[in-house]
């Protein structure tokens, strides 16, 4: 189970990469593993608002459905169109090609460090 130290995490098993006022967001390796083979990712349109804690998308595997929460307030500026053609990127490269949305955020809430997130999933 990989857990890049330079990323921030949420208790909803998402990772957040902050670059200036843009937060790139995906789900963790742990979450992808729990979901199993991802077969479809339902993402919002670019341009829609993001409200921290609200559901903005769905991740379907062969067996279950996970929800994608917006970890930050702001505006969704980009979504990963590649997932429409190849949703398995979420399993094969969750922190890279499997990213989901990018948000221009207006405020950054308290997020978890890799260590804190590791402690959460160890329970």
């Amino acid at each position: 189970m990989t857990l890049p130290a330079d990323l921030k995490y949420t208790s909803e098993h998402e990772w957040v990469a902050v670059d200036g006022d843009i937060a790139r967001i995906g789900i963790t390796d742990y979450a992808a593993d729990k979901l199993g083979d991802v077969v479809f990712v339902d993402l919002p349109q670019a341009g829609t608002p993001a409200v921290a804690g609200r559901v903005v998308g769905e991740i379907e595997s062969t067996k279950s459905v996970g929800e994608l929460y917006a970890p930050v307030d702001g505006e969704i500026v980009e979504v990963n169109e590649a997932l429409a053609d190849d949703p398995s990127l979420v399993n094969s490269d969750p922190y890279g090609a499997g990213w989901m949305i990018a948000v221009r955020f207006t405020g950054l809430p308290e997020l978890l460090s890799a260590d804190e997130y590791a402690a959460l999933t160890a329970e």
Binding site: G36, D37, V39, F40, D42, E60, S61, T62, K63, S64, V65, D86, P87, S88
Partner: protein, 941 residues
């Protein structure tokens, strides 16, 4: 000699039961059940029953004959979604009357279900071809509920921000009634329109095509205007008409729904029939119900499976937008085979025949100066007969032809595959009296379909629809498909919570008798006395054995029974001025359908925790009841629980809900563990649904039909479907009695078992489950148990420790069971990583032991993997199931022998081994590459 049917139905005889009881340490079945079922809920020993004492098979058939003779078989030309059709005898004998087809389960184990999955993909191809749309599902419950589901789909998919749904004024009357009942509960407003003028903003619209009045028009412009406002356009289309007229897809529709009844499925007084739904590209993820798709197996061959299961209610629970769990597989298979047998030319010829017979009548009427109301039509014609409509209908009925009485001045008739010149002349005599012609002659007939509106595109062009047109070819195709599948005629199907018991031949006998098969649901009451007597008796018996006052047999699936029951609770609260009571408490262990049904009944789901034993957490329940006391509508609870345990506190639970003004819904899915020993109505249930396809022997049909009657206490009776004898009260199905033609099955079961037989069956089912639990406990932990360490009628084997120790998964064990000749138990429900086993009372001791020994042998195989004897990725479990080809083709490179692969126990060598037709199917591939129609023949090369 007089023998008891119960001795045939129950698989274990006295000697076998003695052996099993010894293994458990109980002196008798009664003593075992006494120890298992909490004494507080037991029925009194001297409880009066209205069930007659058990009839023999011969006697039951004689009584059914007598009932059948009180039905009058005529030639119905009423139409309204139900048309005369000829069931090809080769389909009747080889599908409808063949246990290989009707005793199969829903194809959750696709490797052993390839036959009916192929039949269903033929069905989906037939529907997509005829509707001209991209993707069709594997059938709906009936046309009316399909329109309701299309409305819910439209609300989810539309970008219009409104609660309005437009309804064609010419929609089937029953569809309109269903829409009204269902829309109200979920806050949808219906607006009736003829689509002529300005349309209000709406999230969708349904157009009947052709109209219920027979009117044939081109709705392309109406469709476009609905879509301009962001709405979803739904056509409720007659599938046979689509062989001749422009398809919904070509007209620009988003969704098409309807029934496939007239594709060779008997009228059956209203059902069961397969409804259908098809959608344009982009809406496939919004489709409710089952969807069959193509994937690949481990060898790379095409293989069929259920696709996109995450759309379904058992995964989405209260977030689901549909509570549909099941399809009408047996009926969909019949309809698809009708298309396979007739092919595109045959289907077109049948459509032409129906149209031509209508034309002949219309021409004769026109000659007599009586033009039809609508100039354009397919098979349904309205005629004005001022003041004489009732007289005309009576005159036709006197000659055994049924017409539709529209109003005092208008009659209507529909022609079909079965309509003869003699029938046409009856219609003419009824309308024209002495002015009617003596014969129809051979003059050319008018064209009732605008040439511009004629269909130009092909359909049914896949080779499967042109290959099997001889009866020999058809018989062999059906056998070829049936041989791929594992049904109860091969061995046990120990699916927990599914109750795969015997569907006895005597029970099935009456289904195809003309007096039950060939009645129109709107036939005059005088023609259906036998049917209504049977419905009345069965309803009384079901009320008696469950402790309720009223039963409605209308819901045509368990999910629809749930919905009907919750809508009854809703109606009750509202009638008392308690509209605010909308909270529905549901234990976390409940089946997902419960939550989905609650949402569709306009309720808000609040989840109640379960304790580590799997029981409702009484403290959490009390806390939730207190918190929501003012707005509590209901608690939904399954008894015995979904964990297969008789919860001890059930009375405390129901009392707490009642004290707060709530109603108690007891889910009857597990009634097979209770019948004869306890009654829902006695321990606090206000309303329940029963699954006649579980407890009362209606076969599963490979994934439908089901029947889910709703039973209630008197205070809820006014809110049940068909309450007070009003057919239009609180409707949840197209037909008033739902699926009447299969009710003789449950009638015969109860009639032949009697109260004592039903009770013995329960005891035998509980004994079998506890025997399996006891014998497997040392190999697999049994997860939950109740009083005295006993389970109810099923047991959960925990495979998580095995996975922990060996890496072998539930999937591996389930697929390996196929090599041993078994259908796997229920996987990962209600607990992920487990198998839930329900043997039922019908299996004999030898079959129970065979399963137990297979499970023990598989455990040993898994242990060998854990011990490193075999690699984790190359062992008999990981590679299961093994096809014949996989063990004979090429060089054998696996670390275990071919014999171990396919003959793990010696008895299989001469014991009629079941060979799976495909290897393990790749689930993810099928969902990522969605294909839901027949693949080209070359794909199998």
């Amino acid at each position: 000699m007089r023998e008891l049917f119960a001795d045939r139905h129950i698989g274990t005889d006295t000697a076998a039961q003695r052996t099993m009881l010894e293994a458990l340490g109980y002196p008798s079945v009664d003593a075992l059940v006494d120890a298992a079922i909490p004494s507080g809920i037991r029925v009194a020993d001297d409880l009066e029953t209205t069930l007659p004492s058990a009839a023999s098979e011969v006697e039951a058939l004689a009584e059914l004959r007598a009932l059948a003779q009180r039905n009058r078989v005529t030639r119905p030309m009423i139409g309204l979604g139900y048309h005369g059709t000829v069931t090809p005898a080769v389909i009747q004998r080889n599908v409808l009357e063949n246990p290989s087809w009707y005793t199969a389960y829903t194809p959750y184990q696709p490797e052993i279900s390839q036959g009916r999955l192929e039949a269903l993909i033929n069905f989906q191809t037939m529907v997509t071809d005829l509707t001209g749309l991209a993707t069709a599902n594997a059938s709906m419950l009936d046309e009316g509920t399909a329109v309701v589901e299309a409305m819910l789909l439209a609300r989810r998919a539309s970008r219009a921000d409104t609660t309005t749904f437009l309804v064609d004024v010419d929609v089937l009357p029953r569809t309109r009634a269903l829409l009204a009942h269902r829309a109200e509960a979920v806050g949808i407003e219906l607006v009736d329109t003829d689509f002529a003028g300005e349309l209000p903003e709406a999230f969708g619209a349904v157009i009947q095509y052709p109209g219920a009045s027979g009117r044939l028009w081109n709705p392309a412009d109406a469709i476009a205007r609905v879509q301009e406002g962001g709405g979803i356009a739904v056509l409720a289309a007659d599938l046979l008409a689509l062989a001749l007229i422009t398809s919904p897809g070509e007209l620009g529709a988003d969704v098409a729904v309807g029934t496939t009844q007239r594709f060779g499925v008997p009228l059956g007084f209203g059902g069961p029939h397969a409804g259908y739904m098809a959608v344009r590209a982009g809406l496939e993820r919004q489709l409710p119900g089952r969807l069959v798709g193509v994937s690949v197996d481990a060898a790379g061959y095409p293989a069929y499976r259920l696709s996109l299961q995450t759309r379904e209610q058992h995964i989405r629970r209260e977030k689901a937008t549909s509570n549909i769990c099941t399809a009408q597989v047996l009926l969909a298979v019949m309809a698809s085979m009708y298309a396979v047998y007739h092919g595109p030319r045959g289907i077109k010829a049948i459509a032409h025949h129906a149209n031509r017979m209508a034309n002949l009548v219309v021409d004769a009427l026109t000659d007599a100066g009586l033009a039809p109301v609508h100039e354009r039509y397919f098979d349904t014609v309205q005629v004005r007969v001022p003041g004489r409509a009732a007289e005309v209908v009576d005159a036709a009925e006197a000659e055994d032809v049924l017409l539709r009485l529209v109003d005092a001045d208008t009659v209507q008739f529909s022609t079909d595959e079965t309509t003869t010149s003699a029938d046409a002349l009856v219609v003419l005599r009824a309308v024209l009296g002495d002015a009617a012609p003596a014969s129809l002659g051979f003059k050319p007939v008018s064209r009732s379909i605008d040439p511009e509106h004629m269909r130009q595109t092909e359909y049914l062009s896949h080779p499967v629809f042109t290959t099997h047109h001889s009866e020999t070819g058809m018989m062999r195709y059906l056998k070829y498909l049936a041989d791929k599948d594992y049904a109860l005629d091969r061995g046990m199907i120990p699916l927990g919570s599914c109750t795969m018991k015997l569907n006895a031949a005597t029970e099935m006998a009456a289904v195809t008798w003309p007096e039950f098969a060939n009645l129109h649901p709107l036939a005059p009451e005088a023609h259906t006395a036998g049917y209504r007597e049977l419905v009345g008796q069965l309803s009384r018996w079901l009320a008696d054995v469950t402790g309720y006052d009223e039963v409605s047999l209308q819901p045509n699936a368990g999910s629809q029974g749930e919905l009907a029951g919750l809508l009854a609770i809703r109606g009750y609260h509202r009638a008392r001025g308690q509209e605010h009571r909308t909270v529905c408490l549901i234990p976390s262990s409940a089946h997902g359908t419960n939550a989905a049904s609650a949402v569709l009944a306009g309720m808000r789901v609040v989840v109640v925790a379960c304790d580590e034993l799997g029981n409702v957490d009484l403290a959490d329940l009390r806390a939730k009841v207190d918190e929501h006391a003012d707005d509590l509508a209901a608690l939904m609870v399954t008894y015995p629980s979904t964990h297969g345990v008789y919860e001890h506190d059930i009375r405390e639970i129901t009392d707490a809900v009642h004290a707060a003004g709530g109603q108690v819904y007891v889910d009857g899915a597990n009634l097979n563990a209770l019948l004869g020993y306890a009654r829902f109505g006695d321990f606090g249930g206000d309303v329940s649904h029963l699954n006649l396809h579980k407890t009362f022997c209606i076969p599963h049909g490979g994934g439908g039909p089901g029947v889910g009657p709703v039973a209630a206490k008197a205070h809820l009776a006014p809110y049940l479907p068909g309450a007070g004898g009003d057919p239009d009260a609180n409707p949840v199905s197209s037909a008033v009695y739902g699926s009447p033609s299969i009710l003789p099955i449950s009638w015969a079961y109860v009639r032949m078992m009697g109260a004592e037989g039903l009770r013995r069956a329960t005891g035998a089912a509980v004994l079998a489950a506890n025997y399996i639990a006891a014998r497997l406990r040392e190999h697999y932990p049994v997860l939950y148990s109740g009083d005295n360490g006993l389970v109810a009628h099923e047991c959960i084997l925990d495979l998580r420790p095995l996975r922990e120790a060996t890496g072998v998964t539930v999937d591996d064990v389930a697929k390996r069971l196929i090599d041993y000749g078994f259908h796997a138990p229920t996987m990962s429900f209600p607990v992920a990583g487990t198998l839930m086993v329900e043997p039922t009372e019908s299996e004999d001791l030898a079959e129970l032991d065979r399963l137990i020994e297979a499970m023990i042998a598989i455990k040993a195989e898994a242990d060998a993997v854990g011990a490193g004897v075999w690699p984790k990725d190359d062992n008999p479990l990981a590679n299961a199931p093994h096809t014949a080809e996989s063990v004979i083709a090429g060089e054998w490179t696996h670390p275990y022998t071919r014999e171990q692969a396919v003959y793990p126990v010696r008895t299989l060598v001469h014991g009629g081994k079941y060979w799976p037709p495909v290897r393990r199917i790749d689930q993810a591939y099928g969902d990522r590459n969605l294909v839901c129609a027949c693949p080209p023949v070359e794909a199998f090369a």
